[in-house]
Amino acid sequence: MLDVSDLVTAYGKIEALKGVTLHAEGGRITCLLGPNGAGKTTLMMSIAGILQPLRGSVRLAGTELRGLTPARIVAQGVALVPENRLVFPQMSVRENLLAGAYQRNDKAEISADMERMYARFPRLRERREQLAGTLSGGEQQMLAVARALMSRPRVLLMDEPSLGLAPLVVAEIFRIVSELNRDGTTIFLVEQNAHMALQVAHHFYLMEQGRVTFSGAPGQLAEDEVIQRAYLGARPAD
Amino acid sequence: MDDYLIGVLSNIGVISFIALSAFLLLLTGEISFGQQAFFAIGAYAAGIATALWGWPLSAALCWGAATAGAAAVLVGLPTLRLSGLYFSVATLAFAEMVRLIFEQFRYQVVVDGEPVGPNGTDGFRGIRYIFENDVGPLQYLGLIYALLAAAFAAFMLLERSRLGVAFRMIGEDAVLAGLHGVAVARLKVLAAGLAGALAGIGGGLYAHLTTYVEPRIFDIMLGVHSLAYGLIGGLGTALGPLLGVLIDIGLLESIRPLSGYRMIIFGGLVAALLIVRPRGLLDERVVHYVRRAWRSRRRPQRLLSSGKD
């Protein structure tokens, strides 16, 4: 579904992505793990078009996304739940959800989808007129996910959904991730929390210093080695 | 050197002080639209000292710097804790208040049978120290540039010192600087005071150069210009604002025949320049490369002995 080939993105002269290649299979959960600074967020931002890669390609079901504006990429069916949620703080929960459907015109279906979001995330329904900036971290995360889903994306990108959240909340987030996937959403997930991520992923990649260093199914690498490399990077001896 | 050239160079020299003043605050990350207030305070204070109190020029200039610096500290204390935009607008408000206060300010003393001193909107005439003491235009030019060279040398020292690094750290990311142990609030006030004093010296020199100041001169135009000099010339080094003044006044003089279109051309050029060089001609990157090239040139043996890599 989503194919990244040899993607190179740089900040000025510094290459943050040194030729990343990976594949997110349709209907599955693909996970990208790696230590801080590995380039995970850079990759997400590059796919979403916020950062413009220098070289390489990003294809969604064959259509080239590299070089498109972020708005066009959303139109193609990509939705990113960004790191740190980035909800619209002075807008209500309801308006945040509506904003997620910005590119859509089908009013009746949009309303129906909002109902579905409220059903899936009951706490959002409770707080629907509340300003998003006043929600707790976990609620904001759910709002960010729901907002992204409102565009009915073909692939949902998630950048560190567990960041800064309490363990119980993290568990709930991942439960929702599984649920979404069971209902048919393709998910490409970047995470630091390797333990939780590996429990839901069908396939995972390890990224270190701008390159993909491992690709496989959970269980192929011993879980603690994965966790070690995800948090600390490969040891020099490896 | 003819009088016209001396006049232009003197102008460049005096204006450079206010450019350096705004630049110093920019280093600490603060955009001030109000340095013209301290320029004004320095001008009036130094003028009063020589014309009304009979002080020598050196003492008057120090007095101008001191009052301007003190005023800057007083204003800086409540305003520096404001974040970026609010601080900038506060400087603008303060500077306009100063200008409007000078429009009401009257302080006249009878000297040699004539009343001399600031007279509200009519301004302050008769700051004739350099004429009464036979200081020729060339000599005064020399004084201006001697002081400017001293100020510039101080900046060079600052850039290499821990204080200078601390200033730039605050400018890059004040929170991070604080976490590294930099006394952010105190240093910001220090920078404000120094910047004010610098502008004050410039003001004092200006008052004696033109022998006449009026509040109208010290308006927002002067303030934004002083920022613009640094932006045009470059924020990487103290040479930048000086270059900016040179370009502005130099260009202004050289397109005198087109003077009706001066600002149209100049404004467009500045806007175009800022698109490609948002931090000026001598921005941090250029300065970095120049420094690196200079350092490697000083060690020719290394290059030779490494041979062809």
């Binding site: 979403a48 916020i50 504006t69 972020p70 708005a71 959303v74 139109a75 960004p82 980035l86 619209f88 703080p89 002075q90 807008m91 308006e95 904003a99 997620g100 910005y102 590119q103 565009s151 | 605050l25 990350g29 603060e30 955009i31 409540p78 305003t79 404001l82 974040s83 970026g84 935009l85 609010y86 900038s88 607008v89 506060a90 603008l92 408000a93 303060f94 306009e96 208040m97 409007l100 206060i101 009401q104 890059e172 990311d173 927002i220 934004v224 920022l227 613009a228 932006l231 009706g260 279109y261 600002m263 149209i264 100049f266 404004g267 467009g268 500045v270 806007a271 800022l274 698109i275 948002p278």
Partner: protein, 299 residues
């Protein structure tokens, strides 16, 4: 007492146009997070176009309004394209200084085309002031107030009930997230500038038609009134712009009555300074927008 109320009334009237100026200013500031020093001058370009149309074509007031607004919008978009669009996210001061350079450019261009010190503007209303008991209200002031209310309400509706308004608010809240939900941010910003300039153009027309003349100083005057009113009332909100404008108008009217025009300006700036130091979020206490800073970090 009568004087006090009369001054307050006059202050509210003139303050309503300050409110519109503040409104346009705050729209640009909210969306760009940068100060546009060319805001007033672009309105002035509109005003000069209006006066040309008035003089050369003997146009009706409606045409003059249209010309003023059109000129302001064109100038505003010119400023956006040159001073704001090409600048990278960290180059906030560059944008501001660039907008200052263009301010000077626009001012000189206007003076070149129309070199006299003052040009006529069609009056907003003629006839005697209306009497409400012991108080007098000028008809043109009343028109000014009504238009200001209408425009503010219109902008409020636009921001909160339309798709475009949603896009603007999203950009104001979080520009990156705005990209991520598929808003074409570049285009939206151009439209925001155009809208803000149009509002400014209307405000400019109202003020100039009340004075019945336009001078080259108008650009700077408009920028400052808008800026002061915006900061007093609170950045980033329509109610803030309105409150700020009205407060500024009232304070000015009283200061001028008791102390004269020079002190009036001093009081205005003093009020601004006091507000900034004591209550930076403005009288309505809005959470301050993420600020600009001269460092490389920040908007």
């Amino acid at each position: 007492m009568i004087d006090f109320v009369q001054n307050t009334i006059d202050g509210v009237m003139i303050g309503s146009s300050y409110a519109l100026l503040a409104l346009g200013f705050t729209m640009i500031l909210g969306v760009m997070r940068r100060l546009n020093l060319s805001y007033g001058p672009s309105i002035m370009i509109g005003a000069y176009l209006g006066t040309v149309v008035y003089l050369q074509l003997c146009a009706s007031p409606i045409m003059v309004v249209a010309a003023t607004v059109a000129g302001a919008v064109l100038a505003g978009v010119y400023v956006e394209r040159l001073c704001f669009a090409p600048m990278a996210p960290g180059a906030a001061i560059a944008s501001m200084v660039s907008s200052f350079a263009i301010w000077m450019q626009l001012e000189q261009a206007a003076i070149l085309v129309l070199p006299r010190h003052t040009y006529p503007f069609p009056p907003l209303a003629t006839g005697a002031p209306l009497a409400f008991g012991p108080f007098l209200v000028r008809t043109d002031h009343l028109i000014m107030l009504t238009c200001a209310l209408a425009v503010s309400t219109g902008i409020q509706l636009l921001l909160y009930r339309s798709r475009f308004g949603l896009a603007l608010r999203a950009i104001i809240n979080n520009p990156v997230a705005a990209h991520l939900i598929g808003i074409n941010v570049r285009t939206a910003i151009i439209w925001a500038f155009a809208l803000a300039s149009a509002v400014g153009g209307i405000a400019g027309y109202l003020v100039l038609a009340t004075d019945q003349q336009v001078t080259p100083m108008f650009g700077m005057w408009a920028t400052f009134k808008g800026l002061i009113a915006m900061m007093i009332g609170g950045l980033g909100s329509i109610p803030g712009a309105i409150v700020g404008g009205l407060v500024l108008g009232i304070v000015e009217a009283h200061s001028q009555w008791y102390f004269g025009p020079q002190v009036r300006d001093l009081v205005a700036y003093g009020l601004l300074f006091a507000c900034l130091v004591l209550r930076p979020g403005g009288l309505l206490g809005e959470a301050p927008l993420r600020e600009l800073s001269a460092g490389r970090r920040g908007a």
